[in-house]
Amino acid sequence: MNDAPLLDIRALSITARSASGPIRLIDDVSLTLARGQVLGLIGESGAGKSTIGFAALGYLRPGLQVTGGEVRIDGRDILALSAQDRSRLRGARLAYVAQSATAAFNPAHRLGDQVVEAALAFNRLDRSKAKKRARDLFAMLELPSPNTFGERFPHQVSGGQLQRAMIAMAMCTDPELIVFDEPTTALDVTTQDEVLKAIRNVIAASGAGALYISHDLAVVARVADEILVLRHGRAVEHGATRAVIDTPREAYTKALLDVARRGGSRSPEAGSTPSLLSIEGITAAYRHGGTILHDVSLSLPEARTLAVVGESGSGKSTLGRVVNGLLPPQAGTVSFQGRTLAASLDKRSRNDRREIQTIHQSPDAALNPRQTVGSILVRPLGFYFGMTGKRKQARINELLTQVELDPALAKRYPAELSGGQKQRVCIARALAAEPRLIICDEPTSALDPLVADGILRLLRELQESRGLSYLFITHDIATVRAFAHEVAVMHLGRVVRQGTVAKALSPPFDDYTGRLLAAVPTLDNVS
């Protein structure tokens, strides 16, 4: 055996061809990875994390080009190999785990057959041995009834189980290098916790080296031995996990850490203002499904933020839809400013609709791609206030300035804006209606941490300057602590705990809240 490190990337530069000349995606990045080690690659979207992850597997997305440096696996330059050798190397010794497991599995085939496919093709294992190995992996990954798990189809297992099945698929060839590309980003916290544990266990058991790509520092800190911070394709900081977290050298790393730490809760004053929104005994169901909400009661004081927190499927978004009228409940009432609101949207007055606005999770889907920012904002002004001409134009400028955007952006289409800018346009659209209450349905979970932080700051300033109330739906406890005054924890359609943030999120806990809080990765519970 030679002593070359498992993966050795030297001075790698990658550029993308574009209409306006080549763009440098990766600029002079070097890293090494030994067997049994996990290196975390961290950075915001566009930092080049995935590009490096793919390069480690000898793959470049179409349109990309290596302009310098090399990628060595056991001392062999993988970029210089013939396509055939490279594919053999990849199949037998390298593996990749992607963000979305649903996209990685063919819905028409059983999980077991898909998990062993690569092992049959590249390791020349016979089918029964490969199946045995898959069963062992299922057991190691703590999947339910590992002996029969492979018989199921992808739609018959949960998201977290499917993610673990994808890890099993990657591990089945017994690879020496595994690239994890945001494998838990699409999962909620409790599921993420299980998957992270599983990842750590299998890496430790197999002795493989791994690159772990994520934008979430707290997640990376839980699995990685070393961390490499990337920004705009350059390495910003590299060091042992503990060292990077405790004594960061670079300002950018510090900023990322601050966002991840954001602990201190808001002023605990509450109950002093009258209730703006109160929800009494709501029970709701969709037409073709079971009951989603069971007897939910909540109240939100004026100019305050009530966070509704829970994992996916807990009914928190459904609650938002009951409040804004999209889903008339089967029982219970929603009162707003002391009046009972009509259950269904059609029966609510224009004024009621105006005063309750909604901001969605994905600004991409919430903005019509064929309308300019200006025409998106103009409609509520004309619709609710009958504004015309110059006054409308002045108001649009004012709104864009309020959300800290350049008024010149009014002429742009959503596709020409960044994720954070788009979400600000959504906020401006809500503000255009001059609401009292804004329902925020996970408004920051599709954004990078620093951008998300900016959006939360903006929402807080708007609350202070205009006395807005927020019903803030989220699965992120750190956001709740930093942003909300009151919190309601939901589990399986019931409110299991509520109160001020300070009280509700400190011990003693009920079972579920305790579990939810323990599952949240923080920089303090790094092992």
Binding site: A19, N324, G325, L326, L345, R348, R350, R353, Q357, T358, H360, S362, A365, A366, L367, N368, P369, R370, Q371, R379, P380, F383, Y384, A415, R429, A433
Partner: protein, 271 residues
């Protein structure tokens, strides 16, 4: 990234251009009148009759040109009708949940389950023979297909959050269709329009071939095939020329539609 058009697509554009010129300028371009006898029956091609003569000695080339505006106009108005009817009801069905949408769906299911050609034959043999009835029948039968496409598009876009925002604001269905849904559905609908147009041309030609479409002395490409079909027995290829024209038109429109789809796919992924 701009891709070069393939030679086939360029030829398709040229052929469609020629058909368009023939449709607009038939009276000036056609060397002979539509019913003018220029020789004996089924003469081979010559300087006088470029594609030869038909069963009674009329110039096939001229008749092909005279038939172009008829074929194009009827196919175009039938397709337009199909889109107005099927497009509008499809959008309504896709966006309105509940009984009304369900009713439209079931009505369309009933219509779509009838074989098109047989329904057309029944309707046309009962109803008076004129161009309006012909357009109406083709348009109605094609509209069931447009309904499905338009309904699927509306249902997909209706689930987008920007439509939800409009609903929450209190916009009516008409405004939602016009301002939020239609602009986003336009490219796929245009592509579908090209496809439907091709099928309308073929449908009209089929009906004319069967004698239920265009009635003499008016002429379209389908009726030209019918008039000359007996020549095949005597190895006279006169029927093949209008047949080839129909095929070329269908292929050309398809190629141009593919090109449009490719472009819309490119702009979509660029989002």
């Amino acid at each position: 990234m701009r891709r070069l058009r393939s030679p086939a697509t360029v030829l398709a554009y040229i052929f469609l251009g020629l058909v368009f010129i023939a449709s607009v300028g038939a009276p000036w371009i056609a060397p002979h009148g539509v019913s003018e006898i220029v020789g004996r029956g089924w003469e081979p091609p010559s300087a006088n009759a470029l594609f030869g003569t038909d069963t009674v000695g009329r110039d096939l080339f001229s008749r092909l040109i005279w038939g172009a505006p008829v074929t194009m106009a009827i196919a175009l108005s039938a397709t337009l009708l199909a889109f107005l009817l099927g497009g509008a009801t499809g959008m309504l069905a896709g966006l309105s949940r509940g009984r009304f949408g369900m009713l439209l769906d079931r009505m369309n299911d009933v219509l779509i389950s009838l074989p098109t050609l047989i329904s057309a034959l029944v309707l046309l043999s009962v109803l008076p023979r004129n161009t309006f009835i012909l357009v109406a029948v083709i348009g109605l039968l094609e509209s069931t297909r447009v309904f499905r496409v338009s309904r699927a598009l509306a249902a997909e876009l209706g689930a987008m959050e920007f439509v939800e925002v409009a609903r929450l604001r209190g916009e009516n269905l008409f405004w939602i269709i016009r301002a939020e849904v239609l602009p986003n559905a336009l490219t796929p609908l245009l592509a579908e329009f090209g496809l439907r147009f091709t099928l309308a041309v073929i449908f009209l030609s089929t009906l004319s071939f069967l004698g239920l479409g265009i009635q003499p002395p008016a002429v379209d490409w389908g009726s030209l095939v019918r008039e000359n079909k007996d020549g095949i027995v005597f190895s006279v290829g006169a029927a093949l020329i209008p047949g080839a024209a129909i095929a070329l038109l269908a292929i050309s429109v398809n190629l141009v539609v593919d090109r449009l789809l490719e472009r819309s796919a490119a702009t979509r992924s660029g989002r």
